[in-house]
Each structure stands twice: as C-alpha cells, then as structure tokens.
Symmetry: C2
Amino acid sequence: MKIIVDAMGGDFSPNPQVEGSVKAAEELGIEIVLVGDSELIQKKLDEIGYKGTDITVRSASEVITNDDEPARAIRRKKDSSIVVAANMLKNGEGDGLVSTGATGGVLAAGLLIVGRIDGVLRPALAPVLPTDKGPAVLLDSGANADCKAANLAQFGIMGSVYANNVLDKQNARVAIVNIGAEEHKGNEMTREAYTLLKKAPINFTGNIEGREIMDGAADVIVCDGFVGNVILKLTEGLASTLLRNIKGMFMKNILTKLSALAMKGSFKEFKKKMDYTEYGGALLLGLKHPVVKGHGSSNAKAVYSAIKQAVKFVSSGVVDKIKEDLKKMEENNDGIEG
Amino acid sequence: MKIIVDAMGGDFSPNPQVEGSVKAAEELGIEIVLVGDSELIQKKLDEIGYKGTDITVRSASEVITNDDEPARAIRRKKDSSIVVAANMLKNGEGDGLVSTGATGGVLAAGLLIVGRIDGVLRPALAPVLPTDKGPAVLLDSGANADCKAANLAQFGIMGSVYANNVLDKQNARVAIVNIGAEEHKGNEMTREAYTLLKKAPINFTGNIEGREIMDGAADVIVCDGFVGNVILKLTEGLASTLLRNIKGMFMKNILTKLSALAMKGSFKEFKKKMDYTEYGGALLLGLKHPVVKGHGSSNAKAVYSAIKQAVKFVSSGVVDKIKEDLKKMEENNDGIEG
C-alpha cells in the first residue's frame, strides 16, 4: 500500500509530516510519497538518518494557505503540494492521501480533483470526537454549512460504514443531533432526515440532544456542517477552558500543588483519552479515494495516527461499502433527491 | 412591584417555588402572587411559618406538562397555572412572571397570551451562560428552531439591552455564532445577519466561533434556536462529563482522596461560578411584559434568583429600551422584513 502525504501547509511543516511518515513506513510496512518542498523534506529525512527505500519525495513548489480562496487556489496553484498530491491520488499513484494543510484547500482538492463517489450528493468532513464511551464520528463538521435532509441521510450511512470498519464499532449507533428526542422535534431538515434514516440499512437510534453527545450516546453523530462545526469547536474550547481552570486550582498553595503530583497519572490518562492526536484526523467521507485531513498543528504522532487511519480505511474497503449501502438506501427510497 | 410566580410544573413543585418566593418577598421588598394548587401552596407557607402580607395565593387547578402539545394546551387548559399567571400579567395584575414549568407551555403562554412587543418578529429564549469572563446571554436557545437573518438581528439588539441593563455589562459585546471569523463565512442567514447587525445601535463585534464561547469572547451570543439549544445542552453535558471524570480520578486511592480534600474549596468556588442557580432563569425576550423561565429542577435558591432577575428586568425598563432600539434599527434599515 502507498500513502501520499502532503508535507506542507501544517504549522510546523514539513518536520512532523516527515517524522510521522518515517515512523509509519517502518511500523506499518507501507510505502509513502512525501509531497512538497523537496529540499526541506530531504533535509529532515537526512537529519532523522532515514536510509530506507519505502519513502520517496515528490517536489511541489507552492502551498495553499488559509488566506487563499480554496476553489480558486486549486485552479491557480497547480504546483501546490495539495493539488499535486490530489492528482497523484486520482491517477492511482497512491491509495490514500493525508494532509495537514488548510482545510478549505483540502476540501476543494478532494471535491474538485479526487471527486465524489457516484451517488454521493455531498462529501462530509468527519472528525473523531473523544467521548466518555470511546471515539465517535461527527459529520458533517464543516464541509457543508447548508444541508438538506438527503445529505444528512447519506452522512448517516457513510458515518456508519466508517465507524464499523475503521473505529471498530459493532453495529454503530447512528443519531441525528436535535433539540429534542421525539421524532417530530427540530426543524424541517431534521424531521425529513429522521424519516429517511429510519429506512436506511444502519442502526439508526433516533435523535440525540447536545447533552448526551459527550456521554457517548451515539457512535455516529449526524448534523449539518454548521452545527457540527459549532459542536467540534465548542467541545475543544470548553475542554480547554475547564482544564485551564483546574490547573489554576492546583497552583493555589503548597497543598494543592502536592495534590497535583498525586493526580498526575490520572490526568495524563484522561488527557490521552481526550487527545485528538490518538485518533489521527478527519476523514473526508464520500470521495472516490480516502483523504484524511489532519489538524494544522499536528505533531509527528498525530501525522502517524492519520496515516494509520488512512491505511485502515483503504484496507477495510470503506469506499466500496459506502457505494453498496448508498445503493441499498436508494432502492429503499426509490431514489433520494438532493 | 408585584411578581407573579407559577408555583406548578417544576420537578419539586410547589415547594421550592414557595420557599424562593418567601425569601424574595422578604429580601427584595416586593409583593408576590403564587399561582397553582392553593392547598399545597398554603401548606408549604404554613410549614415555613410565613405570616406576612406580601405573598398572596391565586388558585389554578391544572398544570401544563412536557407531554402536552403547547399551543393546544394553552387553549384547552384554561385553568392551568401558567395560563392563569400569563393572563394576570397581561391584565396588569403583576409586573413580571416567573415559571419553572414546561418550556413549551411557558413559550406558548408568552407568545399567545402576553404577546410580543410591536415590531418584534420572534421572541427569543435567552438563558445566561456562565463563561470564564462572567455571565453571557445566549439567544435564541430554543424558541425558534428555524430563523431568518432579521430574527437574528433583533436577537442581537434585545440581548444587548438585556446584558447592559440586567447583567450589568458596559457596552455589551454582541457576536454571531459562526464557523469562521470573517464576514463572508457561514451560511446565508449569518451573512445577512452580519450586515444587519453592523448597522445596529449596539457594540457588534462580528462572528464568534464555538471555541471562543466559553472563554467569554462575547457578552451576547446570537444564533438560531437550533444552534443555541445545541450549545446550551452540549455545554451542560460536557461540563458534567468532565466533572464526573475528575471526581473519578479523585476517588482512586488514599493520596488522591487526600488531594480531593485539599482541592475542595477551589472546586466549590468553581462550581459556584458555573452554577445556573446563581443567575436565575432564561428571559423570554421580546414580550410586552417580562417572563422568566426557570429550570424545571430549580431549587429555592434558583427560584429566588429568577424572581430577582425579573425584578431587575422590570425596574431597569428593558421592555421600553428594546422598543426604542428596535425602532432605531428599523430607521437605519428602512424597515427589516422578516
């Protein structure tokens, strides 16, 4: 298997991208193509002392940043690392792509270059949310600010396949984010999506309220990209606010500082449970080939996890299974109109 | 001043409602009418040993619950405590209303009996969110699952008046919840609302992302009722999940249990800062007279806080100020169409 790694566009590129790739090549027994500034990449490879043959470098002279208008940048910056990487993926020069570059650029490259699976109305950005009962997938988390019911229904199906095959869930519980548990609650979109998902070939468990998300009441959390983005960022923000407050409490006096020592192990364990770098990145679900978007601030471990995630995605045949399940659903509904 | 308290419909009604009212009558020097099962209310008053004349009781034989369809229940259950209370408010038999009953019933009674301020398109449910920089108001948090830009603009104005006059903010910072900071980010509704709020007679600070909400980056957090409800409940859920995890860590062994003792004071302080009972309830903003919706599980302290909030709302003339500011905004925009 060969994974294409966009080495540019992250906060510390290309260093963690190179380091994570070396670890992945060695531990997972895969080939990797690093795409980007070949001089910088080679320098880091030499620094690490990498002597293997599983990692190759493909030169790309440009980078798409958060300041670029994504769709336009994809057309203009033909030699940007993400455009080169996406074209390689499309042309079969690799089985999956990992990028820690600007989200807009990765989304646009996925949509415009890699392309959607036939029948997928809108691909979704699907990060993993650490909950009290293990990882859950949240989709869409920002690729589509405006959605229709049929989009949400497809998110449910794609998320279910992903959770069962990559997150090792058994019969993943799929729920729609809503403002009440009952079927008639919410807005027109959620009510329609409810009706569609009831007929889908998945374990649909109904609506989930904001209160239950972090308890782990669902394995696949379905919502439009606006709501998903708010959930993702609010969760990050609230967790860091609370942890900062707790840290402050521990620094108060000598007794609390001693307590901090006693609690260190537990906190480390908890932090690990809540650590995004454990889970890799966000899948762009619904594309013809796997694209994983890692956090811009990814360290080597996070890059490694994202590569591992891409490998698991490829080897479990998620793309084909999504195709199958969408087809089943279409048959159930005599075709979903988007 | 006279506050009408719906004594029924809360989880422990009418006991905390009666207790909170007695405390409020004594400490705030106001009159209170308790509405509901007069026998139960009188029993509790006797138990407390209340001998004053500031509290009177108005009998109402029915209760609207979460199982009732709100608009229908308002018409059918004419002798329910919330309907009787809302009619009293409308008829000038009190200056404000506090209810801890079913949210749907309180919203419907507010809208259909008390009525909107002229020019208000949609009243909003506006709870106070405890943030790292003190209380902020979140609106709408569930009264309107589907909104238009003009609704959001009015929420911004009403929230600003409320924050400046009841939460003692100076020139409250008003922001729209969005999935990016830039003006062009988000969906059609948020972009239009941004344009409208720029021209409003308030301190509009632009978009706010989920990550910044708990940091206290805004005093007035504007969004549609779907997003607001998710924010409110996710915040509650995440805080309780984190605190439960932390509690678990402290129970691990003798050292961590000793640590818990050392940290007790700080945690108590923090819990107080994050405690909804400190702030009372959610204002139903945009009605002709103040209606405060308290949590169903309110204890006496929370009921007292909600009454105090209603008193402050009345005495600071928020309704008139909302009227003025909406008029100014209409003039700026040559009329907002909803």
